[in-house]
């Protein structure tokens, strides 16, 4: 139960009080306690006043909060106000209105007056702040405005063709700068700097524009007046815009103008040359078209040709040489018609074939059909018949498309093999051998023509893997078998005088016989190649290095077998860092014969040591290199960001590391293709293809189809690698065409993207076979 405060006494002490509505405060005399009660009543009256006061204060607090909140809204509103001149005044009005509105909730006049007084001070502070901000913003806007005007002035000045306009243009800007300075937007220093930078910007742009638009005038206008003792140019004052250009920049502008002049000159030269060549080509084409018509006719039936009509043909002036050669050839052909000794393709056919198909730039290469006609005319001495000219003309015309070039290269390669098989050499041979070859051509060319006419492709006819292969004609024209050396020796040492001993039949296959004939040349060629890839001089190696033994192989790889000419007394394992292979001989690696000491055996391994017994996969020393190969493959895989070849390379690396064995040759080639591909930056790396083709010679690397290899990729090629170029062709076609053109036999192909169906067909037409989405092999003809 509640109790009264003890200071008031007990209820009994208080006594009873009757209610009296007439009095507000009970009043009675009640002694000490009553006096105490009266004091309490007084206090209670004072509390009623205090309640009103508290209410006022609460209202004031609410008003303050309301005012501050609204002021923040107003501040935000004015932060983006760009009417800097009236903003402070409008801000003040807004605040005063808000102050008035919010003060209405305070009933007490004192509190209201106090609130208004206090908030007015707050308002003034805000107004001052807005005023300062407005001034600053107005200044910034003014500065930006005049700076922009400076840019427009430069632009206008550069546009005007009339020098007389320049002064008004710049004077207008100066006035504006002056006004901005007076308005306080710019300091005097800033005004000076702006005038100066505007002028400099103008003269600089004028100079650069002149260098680009009219380099010759730029050179004439801006050239130095003299060169100082130190070789530095000096520029005399001439009283115009040029004086304002910084001398260093003026020198740069001059340099650019000179560079542009050179570029223009070069472009003009190229254009003139292009037009000249176009004209020459048009005239040559016109002359050749006439000649070609007659050659076709002369090749079939010379007597049907009307020489008079030929003489009346209108050749372009520049093609009179062709006209004369054609007339001579026609007269010769007509005169020899019916002479069987002049049949065939001509005694000089093979020599002419080699000249027509020689490498670009070769000194005696034939590129002009008139040259062929001369060989068929009086001055050719019967080197060619018109049939010979007709056939060789096909090889001259084979540069029109990529497909033409590839097919022509195939046919050239085929004919060289055939010539070697029939005559024993790729060079012109003795008359009897050449006669056999002529007979072969007499069978081959018609067969080719008929087969092509029947719809067969050149690939089908010239690819050894095809059932239609025309190489099947060759054995019929091969030379008669010769005694084998052992038989010949036996015959030579025989007591019998009769040398007409019956020679045992040569039961070796055509390819075995061909292989023997080519063996010696190939071995010699291979030795040079081996030496190059091992970075040694083969002659010095043979002269200076101890010969260890002969090349051998066991299940684990390459070994050195002791022999009578070597210093080894037992078989040891081959180590590419210590030993050098030349042919079947193995030498110690000696510093005197090193051509590039920094290249290690491992690098030689990665560069690819070539075919057959030197295949990288079989090198015993390749165990160590396999580790390097695996690491390289991992790097390639990491960098290639998921291309198919990268996956293959990475898988190869994992297999190699797991098994502790060297990666196969095709894996090494894939890794190499990927390494060269990864030199590209990411976007072309994603969009292009790089292909590597190992051959019986160097490895050919090419890019496609968007671009051939880029310079950075070219620069990364190692000894033993060459690049191929065939704009617009796919990478696979590029490298294979280069191999065909160079007479190199393709062995393995690796690409960085999946091989497309077109390329697959091309590869298969060359006897190749896909071993994965990104690799192919080309089995050797012997197999």
């Amino acid at each position: 139960m509640p109790k009264l405060p003890e200071a008031l006494g007990t209820p009994q002490d208080v006594g009873a009080v009757a209610p009296d509505p007439s009095r507000i405060i009970p009043h009675y005399e009640a002694g000490q306690v009553g006096a105490a009660m009266q004091g309490f009543a007084r206090d209670l009256g004072a509390s009623a006043n205090q309640v009103q006061d508290v209410q006022d204060r609460l209202s004031r607090a609410a008003a303050e909060q309301d005012f501050i909140s609204k002021k923040l809204d107003i501040d935000q509103q004015f932060a983006g106000d760009t009417d800097y001149a009236t903003a402070p005044q409008r801000y003040r009005q807004a605040l005063l209105q808000t102050l008035n509105d919010t003060s209405q909730g305070i009933l007490g006049p004192v509190q209201r007056a106090d609130f208004q007084q206090q908030m007015s001070r707050f308002t003034e502070v805000g107004v001052d702040s807005i005023l300062r901000q407005s001034v600053a913003k107005a200044r910034d806007a003014g500065r930006a405005n005049v700076t922009q005007a400076a840019g427009a002035t430069v632009s206008d000045a550069l546009r005007t063709p009339d020098e007389a306009n320049l002064n008004p243009i710049f004077n207008a800007l100066n006035d504006r700068i002056q006004a901005s300075m007076e308005a306080g937007y710019l300091s005097p220093e800033e005004a000076v700097a702006l005038r100066k930078s505007t002028a400099q910007s103008y003269v600089s742009q004028r100079g650069w524009r002149l260098a680009d638009a009219d380099p010759q005038q730029a050179v004439d206008t801006l050239r130095p007046s003299a060169l100082g003792d130190d070789g530095q140019p000096s520029f005399a004052k001439v009283g115009d815009w040029r004086d304002l250009i910084d001398p260093g920049e003026r020198t740069s502008i001059l340099g650019r103008a000179q560079q542009n002049l050179e570029a223009e000159q070069r472009a003009a030269d190229i254009e003139a040359l292009r037009q000249q060549r176009q004209q020459q080509k048009a005239e040559a084409d016109a002359g050749n078209a006439i000649a070609s018509r007659y050659v076709d006719q002369l090749a079939v039936d010379p007597t049907s040709v009307d020489v008079g009509a030929l003489a009346r043909e209108r050749f372009p002036d520049s093609q009179q040489d062709t006209r004369q050669a054609l007339l001579g050839a026609a007269q010769t052909a007509i005169a020899q018609a019916g002479d069987k000794t002049a049949a065939g393709y001509g005694l000089g056919f093979w020599q002419a074939f080699n000249r027509v198909t020689a490498a670009d730039g070769a000194p005696n290469k034939i590129t002009d059909p008139a040259e062929l006609l001369k060989l068929a005319g009086p001055e050719g001495g019967g080197a060619l018949t018109m049939q010979g000219v007709h056939q060789l003309q096909r090889f001259l015309d084979a540069n029109k498309t990529v497909e033409d070039r590839a097919q022509s290269a195939m046919e050239q390669n085929f004919l060289r093999q055939a010539h070697a098989a029939i005559t024993g050499t790729e060079a012109p041979a003795d008359p009897a051998s050449e006669a056999r070859f002529q007979n072969f051509l007499g069978a081959y060319f018609p067969a080719l023509q008929d087969s092509l006419a029947s719809g067969k492709s050149a690939m089908q006819l010239l690819s050894a893997a095809s059932s239609d292969y025309l190489g099947k004609l060759i054995p019929a024209f091969a030379p008669p078998p010769t005694p084998r050396p052992d038989t010949a020796a036996a015959a030579a040492t025989s007591d019998r005088r009769d040398k007409d001993i019956e020679t045992p039949p040569d039961n070796r296959s055509f390819w075995e016989r061909l292989g023997d004939r080519w063996g010696a040349a190939a071995r010699s060629w291979n030795e040079d190649r081996q030496a190059q890839l091992q970075n040694v001089d083969p002659v010095l190696t043979r002269q200076l290095a101890p010969r260890l033994g002969s090349l051998g192989e066991d299940d684990a790889g390459v070994i050195i077998v002791p022999d009578s000419r070597g210093i080894l007394d037992k078989t040891i394992r081959f180590d590419p860092t210590k030993h050098v292979i030349l042919g079947n001989d193995i030498y110690e690696r000696v510093p005197e014969a090193e051509e590039s000491p920094r290249l290690s055996g491992a690098r030689a391994f990665l560069g690819g040591l070539g075919p057959g017994p030197l295949a990288a996969s079989t090198l015993a020393g390749g165990i160590e290199a396999a580790g390097a190969g695996a690491r390289a493959a991992e790097v390639a895989g990491a960098e290639a960001q998921g291309t198919r070849a990268a996956e293959a390379a990475s898988a190869g690396a994992r297999v190699a590391e797991t098994a502790g064995a060297a990666p196969t040759e095709i894996e090494v080639l894939s890794q190499r293709a990927q390494q060269i591909h990864n030199i590209l930056d990411p976007i072309p790396r994603k969009l292009r293809t790089t292909a590597a083709l190992s051959t019986d010679g160097p490895t050919i690397v090419g890019g496609g189809a968007v671009k051939d290899l880029e310079s950075a990729q070219e620069a990364a090629l190692q000894p033993g690698e060459i690049s191929a170029k065939l704009p617009g062709a796919r990478a696979e076609v590029t490298v294979l065409t280069e191999a065909l053109k160079s007479g190199l036999r393709p062995r393995l192909l690796a690409t960085t993207r999946d091989i497309c169906p077109d390329c697959r067909r091309y590869i298969e037409s060359l006897g190749g076979r896909l071993t994965s989405e990104t690799t192919a092999i080309f089995p050797s003809p012997e197999k």
């Binding site: 570029a263 930056d681 496609g704």
Partner: protein, 209 residues
């Protein structure tokens, strides 16, 4: 006579790394701007691709570097559209797309530079420009195989040296602007105009194909 320049990618990356990110993007965009006409020419001749995609992308980059920043999502969308506009081995356009690929790749790298802050992206944009002129010279060499002397010859040609000098000039101007920390917008605008003028030389180059 000025010393012969070479495209030194590591050095370029190191110098770009010292620039503020925004100016690196500008450098890449300048390289792209010079090549843009090559793409337009290719598209006109082959009927493949959409030059407006690349033009718009470059314009967006210029606005971004001059105070109207793009969001990451916007940049990614633009990049995606650019990547789809780059000709690759897959397109059978019959017209050699090499220069168009370089041009479009440079635009993509400029956006990449903005998205990743990686100086390598800007350097790759420059590499595409260099490779374009280098490839032009190499394609004039009448040989199916390329030797070291061909590479040196191509590098020495005025058209290649001119592009390398332009890249050096851009870099120097951007370094100066970076040091001054003022009026970037005006410098960027000036360099962009210069790149557009220089683009005419690139255009002529491609047109002579």
């Amino acid at each position: 006579m000025a010393a012969q320049l070479d495209f030194d990618e590591p050095d370029l990356i190191a110098r770009l790394a010292r620039l503020p990110s925004k100016l690196r993007v500008v450098f890449a965009a300048l390289c792209a701007e010079r090549q843009l006409p090559n793409y337009i020419q290719f598209s006109k001749r082959s009927g493949w691709g959409n030059p407006n995609v690349l033009k718009d992308a470059l314009e967006s980059i210029w606005q971004d570097t001059q105070g109207q920043p793009l969001t990451k999502a916007e940049l990614e969308t633009i990049l995606e559209r650019c990547m789809a506009s780059i000709p690759s081995d897959e397109q059978d356009t019959k017209k050699e797309p090499a220069y168009a690929q370089d041009a479009a790749a440079s635009v993509a790298y400029a956006i990449g530079a903005r998205l990743t802050d990686d100086p390598k992206e800007a350097a790759w944009a420059a590499r595409r420009a260099f490779e374009a002129v280098d490839y032009f010279v190499m394609s004039q060499i009448d040989s199916t195989t390329i030797m070291g002397e061909h590479l040196r010859f191509a590098l020495s040609q005025p058209i290649v040296q001119a592009e390398l000098r332009r890249q050096q000039a851009d870099l120097q101007d951007l370094q100066l602007a970076s040091a001054e920390k003022s009026l970037w917008a005006s410098v960027i605008s000036k360099l962009r105009d210069r790149a557009r003028r220089d683009a005419e030389l690139f255009l002529n180059t491609a047109a002579r194909q």
